[in-house]
């Protein structure tokens, strides 16, 4: 059987989270009623002109810098001409020969080694609107257009065909998304369409790519991996039978788990690109780039390394904590107030992150200082771990401080030996069977007795102390 080398290139569209659109002042909020976030400019009315959104340019420059790309001092916008009802002007303002940035890379792990996936170019363009096909009977013959999305800034990041497996593609996307989110330029939410990805795939030899196909309509990173696998399999089977791969655009069908040829619409298009005459070339001077360089936050990889060295965390912890910038920030804030990194790490990775999953970080009501308070109560032994979980949930809901909740709910752990000693006596008296079991050598019985003690104290007893006292009583009895 012949071996083929897989060549994959990815085109990622990232919707930038600017407040306003790329060429007008319209809002970009997701989910507004159709056509409520539009104006003459993004509707392409006769006579209007685009004005570039400075923030969108800056977001793209920041991303380019983070991906080690070269910022082109002079870049231009170009018109991509094609007819479709979701495109108000029937041309898209994009970039063609002079993109904002060229070159760069994203680091991934492949077979345990670090590999750089090259970036071809990064450019800025406007999004199109959305077509909604009539569903109720009277509307069956019609399609409706929502232009809320038309003109929202998209950053296109095109990789070189240096990705050699669907797994690498997955890894590339995860890392790219992580960087973009760290930069705060997009939320990269695939469900809301703020991250989209098309792929080019070919099977070739060691130094020669084969005929490529373009693959569209993959709606999650997992689908991308699946789609790529399916397309590779298809191409492999074709080539193995001695047939040829046709250069074409194909769509992934997530239900049938297959790719299908997309004839018609997208095929053999001549977009007749030419420089956008309504926008002068964009001059990006050095000082602007320097200013932006200064505000780039620490990127995931650097932070990962720092967490290991500075806090002495295991790789696993550092990885989980630095996955999202918000979590990593939260962790570091907590450590400032409660300088026991591993304990903070356990806590944040465990219960905290479980709760965060339900909400997003911006809505979290617990301040890092509060979390630190909670942890110090646990450390002092005034609060059991189980109790602490309960307290944290309450903190999440109400935003109240840890000590306040402990006070209000009387959750303070009983570590007072005298009062617990009495309870231990009672427990031993009331459970003669368990005592006998223990005497016969069933060491499990002690757990039962401690459990009884905990029940009597409504869980507030210090578990170590309870254990110690019960054991003492049993030994005394057997004396």
């Amino acid at each position: 059987m012949k071996e083929y080398k897989i060549y994959i290139g990815l085109e990622v569209h990232v919707e930038l989270s600017t407040q306003s659109k790329l060429f007008c002042g319209c809002k970009t909020k997701f989910g507004a009623a159709p056509n409520t976030q539009t104006c003459p400019v993004c509707l392409g009315l006769p006579g209007v002109l685009p004005v570039i959104n400075r923030k969108a340019v800056e977001y793209t420059i920041i991303t380019a810098l983070a991906l080690n790309s070269r910022i082109n001092k002079n870049c231009r916008f170009a018109r991509k001409n094609y007819y479709y009802p979701d495109l108000p002007k029937n041309y898209q303002i994009s970039q063609y020969e002079e993109p904002l940035a060229s070159g760069g890379w994203v680091e991934i792990k492949a077979n345990g080694k670090t590999k750089k996936i090259g970036i071809e170019r990064i450019h800025l363009e406007e999004d199109a609107g959305k077509l909604i096909h009539g569903e109720i009977k009277e509307d069956k013959d019609f399609s409706f257009v929502d232009y809320n999305r038309a003109g929202i800034p998209l950053m296109e990041i095109v990789s070189r065909p240096e990705i050699n497996s669907p797994e690498e593609a997955y890894e590339y996307l995860v890392n790219l998304r992580q960087i973009v989110r760290y930069l705060g330029v997009s939320d990269c939410n695939m469900e809301e369409g703020s991250l989209r990805c098309d792929a080019n795939i070919s099977l070739g030899e060691e130094n020669r790519m084969g005929t490529k196909t373009e693959l569209k309509n993959m709606n999650s990173f997992k689908e991308i991996r699946e789609g790529l696998r399916a397309e590779i399999k298809r191409q492999y089977e074709l080539l193995s039978r001695g047939e040829k791969v046709i250069q074409e655009t194909r769509v992934w069908d997530p239900k049938k788990k297959k790719t299908f040829s997309m004839r018609g619409k997208e095929e053999a298009h001549d977009y007749r690109y030419f420089p956008e005459p309504d926008l002068p070339p964009l001059f990006i001077d050095k000082s602007w780039v320097e200013r932006l360089k200064a505000i780039i936050p620490e990127l995931p990889q650097e932070r990962f390394n720092r967490f290991i060295h500075q806090y002495g965390l295991p790789e696993y912890d550092a990885g989980v904590l630095t996955e999202s910038k918000d979590i990593a920030d939260y962790f570091e804030e907590c450590v400032k107030f409660f300088p026991k990194p591993k304990m903070v790490s356990n806590w944040v990775m465990g219960d905290f992150m479980r709760l965060v999953k339900k909400e997003d970080m911006t809505k979290i009501k617990i301040s890092p200082a509060s979390t630190a308070d909670l942890l110090s109560e646990v450390e002092k032994g005034t609060l059991s771990t189980t109790m602490a979980k309960e307290v944290m949930e309450e903190m999440f809901k109400t935003g109240k401080g840890a000590s306040q909740i402990i006070e209000e709910r009387g959750l303070k752990q009983i570590s007072d030996e005298e009062s617990l000693d009495k309870v231990a006596d009672e427990v031993v008296k009331e459970n003669p069977k368990a005592v006998k079991d223990w005497q016969k050598g069933k060491s499990q019985a002690i757990k039962f007795l401690v459990g009884q003690l905990m029940r009597k104290t409504k869980g507030k007893a210090n578990p170590q102390l309870a254990n110690k006292l019960i054991e003492k009583k049993l030994k005394n009895l057997s004396g």
């Binding site: 003459p40 509707l43 392409g44 009315l45 006769p46 006579g47 209007v48 002109l49 685009p50 004005v51 570039i52 018109r79 001409n81 007819y83 009802p85 108000p88 002007k89 029937n90 041309y91 399609s143 257009v145 001549d270 007749r272 690109y273 030419f274 005459p277 309504d278 926008l279 002068p280």
Partner: protein, 487 residues
């Protein structure tokens, strides 16, 4: 009041300031004139009488209350129908926008309104400003007030004819390849294309974005300076408008040309030019010399490529600019019930006229894969050469003097079936658009059939004041402006 239609704005303002006349009287006098001659001229696509009279009354009240009066208070103005006026029909002379009313106004409209101008109506034009005779209007042909058998020029033919016939005091037009200067010349009035970037294009329905510029059509040079003053300046809504101080143009209007160097580019006095036109322009050069200017022959060697270059660049941009008229969002849509692709095709087939279709096809072709480099790419390079010709000439000369049009107004129907012949009407005006430089046309005599001849004065970018100075000095030492057409 009967004299109002004959007066330039600078004279009407004086009457108004002396309270010898009211704004309402001015506006009513213009509408009376329109009632008398519009049937013969057909300069307007729509008129705005009710609103205009209301505004006139509003200004009269303000004047009565001794409020501060803006510079063009109460002056009637006509607007070419490719400049958006909020909630007023803006057709571009096209069936495809026959019932289109924009929900916003062009920046120049806000400016002229703030300056006190009263919009009288929207003027006829070649469809989407594509043409040199106003015969390409989807609605009707505008007549030249000097001879109703001849064309008024184009594409701002309606604006030029409305000013020349005394229907209105001022007008705005747009100039992509000569569309202000050529009709101004053929109608015997003043018309100026400012430097690209001097006046905001926001709200001007685009024909060719890198060439279009809005400018004044007026009865004399002083009015031209007044109106240019009002409409000039950087606009944040137009990224191609330039942030440069706007000089006080009136201060440059002096009847003396000491120290001014005038060049006569020899390429503008050869092919296809009518004898009387050539003589009038050379005669004008002598007048300038008498006023103290130094006149010398010069050369713009790439002139012969201008028309070809222009028709590649302008049509390429137009093919993209006009793509939005597809029946989906606004404007005309075919009545036939059909699928999406056929809806596009039928809408555009029924909505656009022949010349527009011709240019869309040409533009689509020159941008196509495999042709781009040889056509559009090459045109861009030649455009740079033409620009350099001018830069070089302006190292030595303050202004260049040429005919505006090779001929006087021609007969309606004479060139309409011969596009190439028609395209040559713009042979002397096109280069200024390609180079982005300012130019004016002013009356300089009468040629065949006693029809007006225009003198074109071209200047350095953003030096409209020098052009206006030369134009003013010439105008004041000649009597051409005093002759009016008899309608």
């Amino acid at each position: 009041m009967n004299i109002i239609p004959e007066l330039p704005a600078n004279k009407i303002i004086k009457l108004l300031k002396r309270k010898e006349i009211s704004v309402e009287e001015i506006v009513l006098a213009q509408f009376k004139r329109i009632d008398e001659v519009e049937d013969k001229v057909k300069a307007f696509i729509s008129l705005n009488k009710e609103e205009a009279i209301n505004e006139a009354k509003m200004w009269d009240k303000k004047i009565h209350e001794d409020k501060k009066i803006p510079p063009l208070c109460g002056i009637p103005i006509a607007i070419k129908d490719n400049i958006c006026v909020k909630n007023e029909k803006t057709t571009c002379g096209s069936r495809i926008l026959e019932n289109f009313s924009p929900p916003y106004s062009a920046t120049v409209i806000d400016k002229v309104k703030n300056a006190g101008c009263i919009i009288i109506g929207k003027t006829n034009m070649d469809e989407f400003a594509m043409g040199s005779s106003t015969e390409n209007s989807s609605f009707y042909v505008t007549r030249n007030p000097w001879n109703p058998e001849t064309i008024p020029g184009g594409s701002s033919g309606g604006s030029a004819a409305s000013v020349a016939s005394g229907e209105v005091t001022l007008a705005l037009g747009s100039d992509t390849g000569g569309s202000i200067r050529q009709p101004a010349a053929l109608c015997g009035i003043v018309g100026m294309k400012p430097t690209y970037g001097r006046v905001s294009r926001y709200g001007l329905v685009a024909f060719a974005s890198s060439l279009d510029q809005i400018g004044p059509l007026t009865k004399d040079v002083t009015d031209c300076a007044l109106l240019l003053q009002v409409i000039s300046g950087k606009d944040n809504k137009d990224s191609t408008s330039i942030d440069r101080p706007v000089p006080k143009y009136l201060e440059y209007l002096i009847p003396d040309l000491q120290g001014i160097k005038v060049g006569l580019p020899k390429e503008y006095f050869v092919t296809g030019i009518e004898k009387e036109v050539k003589e009038s322009v050379l005669q004008a050069a002598k007048v300038l010399e008498d006023l103290g200017a130094k006149v010398e022959e010069t050369s713009l060697p790439h002139t012969e490529y201008a028309v070809a270059t222009y028709y590649l660049i302008a049509t390429a941009e137009a093919s993209s600019n006009l793509a939005r008229y597809d029946g989906v969002k606004y404007g005309y849509r075919t009545k036939e019930k059909t699928n999406m692709i056929d809806m596009y095709k039928k809408t555009r087939k029924e909505g656009f006229g022949d010349e527009v279709k011709r240019r869309i096809m040409l533009g689509t072709y020159v941008l196509s894969k495999g042709y781009y480099e040889n056509y559009y790419g090459k045109a861009l390079r030649v455009r740079t050469l033409i620009k350099r010709d001018f830069e070089k000439a302006f190292e030595k000369f303050d202004v260049l003097l040429t005919p505006t049009s090779p001929t006087v107004a021609f007969k309606i129907g004479e060139k309409i079936d011969d596009p190439l012949k028609m395209y040559l009407s713009d042979i002397f005006t096109i280069s200024a658009n390609l180079a982005g430089i300012p130019g004016i046309s002013i009356p300089c005599g009468f040629g065949q059939n006693n029809l007006p001849v225009g003198l074109q004065i071209l200047g350095r970018p953003f030096e409209e004041e020098t052009i206006l100075r030369v134009a003013y000095a010439y105008e004041q030492s000649t009597e051409w402006r005093k002759r009016k057409p008899e309608i």
